[in-house]
């Protein structure tokens, strides 16, 4: 029994170490996103932020959410951002994310918002004893997707196809306009 207790303690402390490592890299990455002068470097540190967030999801036993975070955010969204930045760049990329005086307004505003959220979080009565969290969420998710909600699942495919065709139409229009002018 005592050994079991020690094992649980060790696991908890390891979780704590992992959490602090992840939170540290997340906050450092977020700070670098806003402070770096080059917008491309900002996007690269945003990828660090998304990966750390995926790690925190794993710590919370939300492994599917972590996969979503890595695939969609760190993969998809960041690639979109990199291309967006590099396509519409200004004169010099090294000065594309300059610091201006508006942080004097922004800093107190965000500080007040942070305080407000912290107050609400401190005051709200959290449900501390929720049920047992399953170790793997994906195995429970698959039957729901492919048995109970098949029609919405296939509708997602249609939605994605519509998005793809919309993209192609837009690109085609842009290209045609570019050629005529």
């Amino acid at each position: 029994m005592k050994q079991l207790q020690g094992c649980a303690d060790m696991e908890n402390s390891l979780e704590l170490i992992a959490f602090f490592l992840l939170a540290g890299s997340l906050l450092t990455g977020a700070l670098m996103v806003v402070t770096l002068k080059n917008l491309v470097n900002s996007v690269l540190s945003l990828i660090v932020v998304f990966f750390s967030l995926a790690g925190i999801f794993i710590l919370l036993n939300a492994d599917f959410l972590a996969a979503v975070q890595v695939l969609v955010y760190a993969g998809g969204v960041c690639i979109m951002l990199v291309f967006g930045v590099m396509l519409v760049q200004r004169k010099d990329m090294r000065e594309s994310n300059p610091v201006n005086r508006r942080f004097l307004i922004a800093a107190p505003l965000t500080g007040a918002l942070f305080l407000l959220i912290g107050l609400v979080a401190a005051k709200s009565p959290w449900v501390k004893e929720a049920g047992e969290v399953p170790e793997n969420t994906i195995e429970h998710l698959a039957p729901i997707l492919l048995r109970d909600y098949v029609i919405p699942f296939e509708a997602v495919a249609i939605l994605l196809t519509v998005a793809l065709t919309g993209v192609l139409l837009l690109v085609k229009e842009v290209k045609d306009n570019g050629r005529s002018s």
Partner: protein, 117 residues
Amino acid sequence: MSVWLGILFFILAGFAFSAIGLGLSFLIHPRSKNRFKLETYECGLPTIGPTWVQFKTQYFTYALIFVIFDVEVLYLYPWAVSFTQLGFSGLVKMFIFIFILVLGLWYAWKEGALEWR
């Protein structure tokens, strides 16, 4: 949790590996300061114009198509994990899902979005 512990050690080892390499080379490398060392390397020739060039818009089409199929992978993942439990009906449903998306790819191919111009 113990499965993820391996990943934690993997991350730590990765950090240590790169930190030791960079730190050692910082400690033992010969020091010589000149401005040519800070220039962008391009086949040994001096670069022409700024090195932060603007990308061709064609790349953006690929990025957009990639994002669509990135989201598709997300739906393949839970199906692949519990493939044996879902059985044949799961396979059929997944193939319908993929077929609808392949229609989009076929349209992209037909419109010449995949061709480099």
